[in-house]
Amino acid sequence: MNTRNLILFALVGVLYIATGMFQSWNLALNILNIGLLSAIMALGVNMQWGFAGLFNTGIMGFAALGGLAVVLVSAPPEPGGWAMGGWGILTGLAFGAAVIAFATWLYRRLGKGPVRTLVLFAVLGGGYFAYRAILDPATAAVESFNPAVAGNIGGLGLPSLLAWPLGGVMAAIAAWAIGKIALGLRSDYLAIATLGIAEIIIVVMKSEDWLARGVKNMIGLPRPWPVPYEVDLQQTPAFLEWAANWGFDPAAASSILVKLVYALLFGTILLGVIWLSEKALNSPWGRMMRSIRDNEVAAEAMGKDVTRRHLQVFVIGSAVIGFAGAMMTSMDGQLTPGTYNPLRFTFLIWVMVIVGGSGNNWGAVLGGLLIGWLWLIVESLGPGVMQMLTLGLGEGPLKAHLIESAPHMRLLTLGVILLLVLRFSPRGLIPEK
């Protein structure tokens, strides 16, 4: 960390402080929390892209899996729904897994040739229909149970905190499977493949209502320990007294306190992730990764197992994203599959990585905090800019039209600022050494 970087971080800090002073501290902290989560996701992407040159655009899929983990772990159990077909679904899924395992075994056992193709085709095809035959009635039964408010198998009712590592693990497992299939692809081809797989994950989450209610959303997920509820705080005498002593408004103080606790939690995890990846990057492992990124052919000839290493870093990076995705769902308190769109979860994170400076962990964090702030602040900034632009205009339909269009200044402003930042530091704010 040299002075330039410290100044950059300080400047971003000033942005947040200014938000606190001119808008409100609640808003500043809210944005900070989202910035921290984005920074963690950006770190995950940076591992894959900056360290190893893997162009992963499936970020939203991994984040969504993290979110799903929160539902499965911390949502209250739904005994009614479970009773309707929970075991049937488990049987179906287990059967599906068994079919795939059997097919893999056959694939290894049988020699190459038309026989193998035919047998595999028969096993997989038959397996698929049998699997659907077991699964479909069970899911239909679950979904028919009180569909307006339930219709799903429910969660385990365990603490939300447990869901975070599980989110990482679920994302890692998915990444492993995706990596096995798609990591042979290069650059933009890998990008579109991962984007596609992420879309598939989202479509499944939207359509399989028995899992997490699909587009009907899971709301009211419990908060992670040790984050209190504002409403409870506002009824706790000790807190009220404390707030009164300091002259705070209890409502504002309670929600600031809650946000501070989140910030502390996320910040700790962010620091942990940075520490781990900095150590890894500045070591022979990091050197090996960079050599693979620079020239796979040569790295392979120098004895590095490129495929395995790609898979390794892809899985780890995705796990980090899944972890952050779980934290995000925990904080939102709800899982809305519709939230996961590429613009927000894939491209925005990429903007963070590139603007921050790819290949540099601190860059990714700075990018996360800066772009996260920008993304949310332009919501009010854009219309403001429009107000200023139209100040000189006389009243009339043109002005009315422009004011009406003000919300669209949101993206426009974001675009302009993004272009300006990249103009003045084309390799990112904190470029790779």
Binding site: W285, R287, D294
Partner: protein, 260 residues
Amino acid sequence: MISVQNLHKKFGAFRAVDGASLEIKTGSITGLIGPNGAGKTTLFNVIAGRLPPTSGRVKMDGRDITGLPPHELFHKGLLRTFQIAHEFGSMTVRENLMMVPENQSGETLWNTWFKRGKIADEERRIRNKADEVLEFLTISHLADQKAANISGGQKKLLELGRTMMVDAKIVFLDEVGAGVNRTLLNTIGDAIIRLNKERGYTFCVIEHDMDFIARLCGPVICIAEGKVLAQGTVEEVKNDDRVIEAYLGTGLKNKVKANA
């Protein structure tokens, strides 16, 4: 050490290697010559696992190594350089060398977090080794340059340097000499001989500079159009009519007039 049996490699309909069979004896420095496009590099690529053969076998010490991936062959002691330099451009010259040694404990993530001391020791050793190699190649002053920013010849030296970072059994050199200053090339030739004599490395060398071949190589194999055209000692091959016709030629036609 290496035995290639009836190897074929086709690109579409084009036969780049067309039934080549050859032996590289343990402890030898074998020269591989042949006209441009004869299939020398392709042959290397197949042996080193970079390309799958269309048919045929490659054996190393009697064991079949056909189709093994390059990184596994590396661990078996088979190293190669690239005709068109494959440097790691964004890394420094020294790092280019330091990444080579195998089984570095720092390449395991766990160790990078929890065994910093051990890694530091190892790094010091590898770093010294890299500096020695740079010294030898006369490019120590470039140690901290980005490899993308060094001259064409220097990149070739770096290619060679990488093979000197580990104890290899057999090293395939694909035109290390092209673009390297002849005086330096002589020094490199000496080093190859020394590695061969003292450490028992086997070499297989592709080179178009016949002086270099003559200085280094015992057996020489000439291939053309994907087939072995002639093999034997340097003298035998040099005087083979077919080799002269296809490869060596008879020298400058206009030379006399030019200097007149």
